[in-house]
């Protein structure tokens, strides 16, 4: 008989024990993956997390708080908390810098997941976060993530200085590709998205002009509590433009869908910048502003007073004599082309389906939706993934564009699905 797992009190001791010996594998440790892992661990279930980054938190751990004197509900702190909880939990184990390569169904139950790992030189389990390695690195290759340990990025030239200073011997510069196999009863895929890369289209001048940055770049500045690039060459940044819908809502230049988050993060970041540097002038180029949150109307009305909204999707960005980006756009008021020079242009890049979607779909027997996001249409039993039959669940931004709060919600749904699946098994 299918007994509800919700009725925890009714669980017999043996069943509880049986559950605890089960392992669930989570692929991708972004906010969605971490939420699934943490909530399952809270239920006493072992979780194994695989992520191809050397750190947990995915994209959004590299974003920053956008609060001015009041919180703007951007949700970034939820990610920090999820990382902190993840660090504390004894039931969660993880393998970083790893990707799943194959999935084998076991005879009796569950799966074996083959994982390929190219370990980071710093062993995250031993690192005590003392920061010595970062001090000595001549290449600035030692990086860290808020609330997490250190890792070494690809800029490392293997000089070995850090090796010597590390008090716990956590560093090993010999990175050997490893293959391991882990058993899991159920798998949750939360492999996230890919931010749109405006460099694919020369018209934005992204990559060529240091004064053109993306929303992702600005987020990583916010993450370090800087609100504008502090490069001395750029000097005073007095006039800033945000261009919305870069790579979204345009089938020719990017994705057809609306990315759902870029209006929200751009407006919040613009608001924060204005707060920090009141005499900057900010223009926002937009097609439509999407509604976000229940306090949207008042937030927007407030913002319209401080920031200039221009309804137009710019045609291109060139450079003026002072090497400032020159935004060319068609003015709605007289239908003429205009040019406006800025000190900084932020391209609000949207959410694209992941690159590795096809690979994951093949390994885990999933489908790709028309847009390229993952779905589980063929064997879908529950909307949060393939669910009951296979025990493979999908959650987070790999399914469709969504913000952090929605990811959390979706992750709870997937966790509920996993619990039910496991409950049926024991």
């Amino acid at each position: 008989m299918v007994k509800s797992l919700l009725q925890k009190q009714c669980l017999s001791h043996e069943r509880q024990k049986a559950l605890e010996s089960k392992t669930v594998c989570v692929v991708g440790a972004g906010i969605s993956g971490l939420t699934v892992a943490n909530s399952l661990a809270n239920e006493g279930i072992r979780v194994f997390v695989i992520d191809k980054n050397p750190f947990p938190g995915g994209r959004s751990v590299q974003y920053g708080c956008k609060a001015t004197d009041s919180c703007l509900q951007c949700g970034v702190c939820l990610v920090r908390d999820a990382v902190a909880n993840f660090k504390k939990s004894s039931l969660i184990d993880a393998s970083f810098s790893s990707t799943p390569r194959a999935l084998h169904r076991r005879e009796n139950d569950g799966y074996d997941i083959e994982v390929e790992t190219i370990p980071n030189p710093i062993d995250w389990r031993s690192c005590t976060e003392c920061g010595e390695c970062r001090e000595v690195c001549p290449k600035n290759a030692v990086k860290s993530i808020p609330g997490w340990k250190y890792y070494i990025s690809e800029h490392c030239d293997r000089c070995g200085k850090c090796l010597v200073v590390c008090p716990v011997g956590a560093i090993n510069l010999e990175r050997k590709r490893q293959y391991e196999t882990f058993p899991a009863l159920s798998v949750v895929i939360s492999s996230g998205f890919k931010p749109f890369d405006p460099a694919v289209n020369l018209k934005w001048g992204y990559g060529a002009n240091p004064r053109v940055i993306t929303g992702s770049d600005l987020e990583s500045l916010f993450c370090r509590e800087k609100f504008l690039p502090s490069d001395p060459e750029l000097k005073d940044l007095k006039k800033i433009a945000f261009i919305l819908c870069v790579g979204s809502r345009n089938i020719v230049e990017g994705e057809r869908h609306c990315s759902r988050v870029c209006c929200a993060y751009s407006l919040r970041m613009a608001n924060r910048i204005k707060e920090e540097y009141p005499d900057t002038e900010i223009d926002i180029y937009y097609m439509d502003i999407q509604y976000f949150g229940k306090s949207f109307s008042s937030f927007w009305a407030e913002l319209k007073r401080k920031i200039n909204f221009i309804r137009s999707h710019p045609i291109s960005i060139s450079i003026d004599e002072q090497e400032r980006p020159l935004v060319r756009y068609e003015s709605m008021s007289d239908l003429r082309c205009r040019e406006e020079a800025y000190d900084l242009v932020v391209l609000a890049n949207g959410i694209c389906p992941p690159d590795n979607g096809e690979e994951l779909a093949e390994i885990f027997g999933l489908d790709l939706e028309a847009g390229g996001f993952l779905s589980a249409a063929t064997n879908a039993a529950s909307n949060n993934g393939s669910g009951r039959d296979s025990g493979i669940f999908l959650t987070g931004a790999c399914r469709r564009p969504m913000g952090i709060a929605e990811c959390v919600e979706s992750a709870y749904g997937a966790a509920a699905g996993v619990l039910r699946y496991l409950g049926d098994k024991v």
Partner: protein
């Protein structure tokens, strides 16, 4: 100790308190009574001098006194109590001059505010004591309020977890626009769900008025059924549908009315729909993506089925729901005319139809639409009065714009201000079909997290108030979304009720004296990251 609604008496002095004449006491007591938060409200005017008459009638009852502090100091109350043989503990003081007057000036929710203040001051008990987490009994029946899409989904989902469910049927009288748009998009879908619910052994459908009066139970919610027998529920899922307000222009239809006409095909063929139909979005309020989606679906339907020429006037295309951008593109291609307007529109009903004037954003020129027979303006969605009443009877808080969750990030997707009551569907925010389905999933997990003691490690995050710094301004009490902050009258300091506090951090950030700390986090770091502590 359990207590039902209590009687209160508010003693008013006519000497020191200068509010007389500005406060309409009779009105106040009426409002307090009508709020059904109190059993009996007695206003004792001139309490300091005239102590006969009314007071006698109160003898032997549990009476709580309120009155201005000057009276307390003058010792006049003591005397009254002696007369009535009441214990000192039975009386409390409300500073009439400031608090009641403030409350009265605040106009909106004075009843609830006063009630909250009284509860928070520890002088009267909340109608139901807060439930401890472990008292929620999952194997007990759950009550789902609302039989819309989200209510039915939630009920079926709970039934799948083998939890018996009662559903209070809410629609019928008023069909919400969301509900109707789903019928339009997928005929029979809701009926299918309803059918499934009817068939399920563990689900019972109750008519709207079947449940009466709530009384506090031992870790559950006890209702009295129409027949008189009692029914106890372990948890309540609040999933009412939302109603749409009227269109706001005389003669215009809102979406609900439009769907109703679409439903009864006849009304469309005859009458209004000979000429063109105009939809106006973002008029007065911003239109969210769900309503935008409903509107363009209806527009497309009209265009196809009735060959009506359709124009949609809007300021922003809210396309952030998956698939909506595609639909929007398709509609434009199919010949629906979208006009983005600037600022506001001027609408006139000239008898033969509407004339609409506005400024086209694309061309900056004025546009005039004349003699439109059909004008459709989606209204704001609100809770029905019955749903409000139900929420109020449960002390479930309703925030701005009639949502049961405020705009801040909630620790669990479906929690409400009361443990044991969860919110689902449109009570949280407008939702499309997909979101409702996901919501039903996360609901199960919200419930479960709430049940598992490990799920919420709140204790670590309970705010600590520094007694020396606290000015007892009770700002924290006002801002706490869960009503967890109370005044510890004995030690003259604010404190958080462990059972109610969700460690959201709001109090710490708002405290003007910076007296509140959460764990070791100082105010500054709170601002920069801990506002929505998880």
């Amino acid at each position: 100790m359990k207590m039902g609604r209590q009687s209160i008496a508010i003693a008013i002095c006519d000497q020191q308190c200068h509010s007389k004449g500005r406060l309409d006491y009779r009105n106040l007591s009426e409002r307090l009574l009508k709020s059904s938060l109190f059993k009996e409200v007695v206003i004792l005017e001139k309490a300091c001098r005239d102590r006969n008459g009314k007071l006698d009638g109160l003898k032997g009852k549990k009476v709580l006194f309120g009155g201005c502090p000057f009276l307390e100091e003058s010792g006049l109350y003591e005397k009254t109590f002696q007369d009535l043989c009441l214990k000192k503990a039975d009386f409390f003081t409300v500073d009439i001059k400031t608090e009641i007057f403030d409350l009265y000036e605040g106009k909106e929710n004075i009843e609830e505010n006063l009630y909250r203040k009284l509860v928070a001051s520890g002088n009267i008990l909340a109608r139901r004591e807060p439930f401890e987490e472990d008292i929620i009994k999952p194997d007990q029946k759950a009550l789902v309020y609302g039989s819309g899409f989200s209510g039915l989904k939630a009920a079926l989902r709970l039934a799948a977890e083998s939890i018996p469910v009662d559903i209070v049927e809410t629609h019928g009288a008023s069909l919400s626009p969301g509900y109707l748009s789903m019928i339009l998009a997928e005929p029979g879908m809701i009926t299918g769900l309803l059918e499934a619910a009817r068939k399920a052994e563990t689900i019972t459908l109750l008519p709207q008025k079947a449940l009466k009066e709530v009384t506090p139970g031992e870790g559950g919610f006890i209702f009295r059924k129409a027949g008189g027998e009692k029914q106890e529920y372990g948890t309540i899922i609040f999933a009412p549908e939302r109603e749409e307000r009227p269109a706001g222009e005389i003669g215009a239809l809102n979406l609900t009315q439009l769907y109703a006409r679409i439903g009864s095909q006849e009304a469309l063929k005859t009458g209004a729909w000979k000429g063109e139909t105009v939809f106006i979005l973002d008029h007065k309020t911003e239109t969210g993506p769900e309503i935008f989606s409903d509107a363009i679906k209806a527009a497309e339907y009209l265009r196809k089925m009735h060959c009506a020429e359709v124009k949609i006037l809007l300021r922003n295309a809210r396309v952030s729901i998956p698939g909506l951008q595609e639909l929007y593109d398709d509609c434009r291609q199919a010949g629906i005319i979208f006009i983005k307007y600037e600022d506001s529109l001027y609408i006139k009903n000239s008898g033969s139809g509407f004339a609409i004037t506005g400024v086209d954003l694309q061309t900056s020129g004025q546009f005039i639409i004349k003699d439109t027979a059909g004008l459709i303006i989606p209204g704001k969605t609100i809770l029905s009065p019955q749903a409000r009443e139900f929420a109020r009877s449960l002390n479930l808080r309703i925030y701005n714009d009639d949502y049961s969750q405020s705009d801040s990030l909630w620790r669990l997707p479906n929690e409400s201000n009361r443990p044991g009551i969860f919110v689902a569907g449109a009570a949280k925010g407008n939702m499309d079909k997909r979101a409702v389905e996901e919501d039903a999933e996360s609901l199960v997990f919200s419930l479960r997290q709430r049940l598992s003691p490990a799920g919420l490690r709140v204790e670590e995050y309970i705010p600590q108030v520094d007694k020396d710094k606290c000015a007892l301004c009770m700002t924290c009490m006002r801002v706490c979304p869960f009503g967890a902050m109370v005044k510890d009258a004995l030690y003259r300091v604010a404190k958080a009720l462990k059972s109610t506090c969700r460690a959201c951090g709001t109090c710490a950030a708002e405290c003007p004296a910076k007296a509140i700390r959460i764990r070791n986090l100082e105010y500054e770091s709170l601002i920069s990251g801990m506002r929505a502590l998880a």
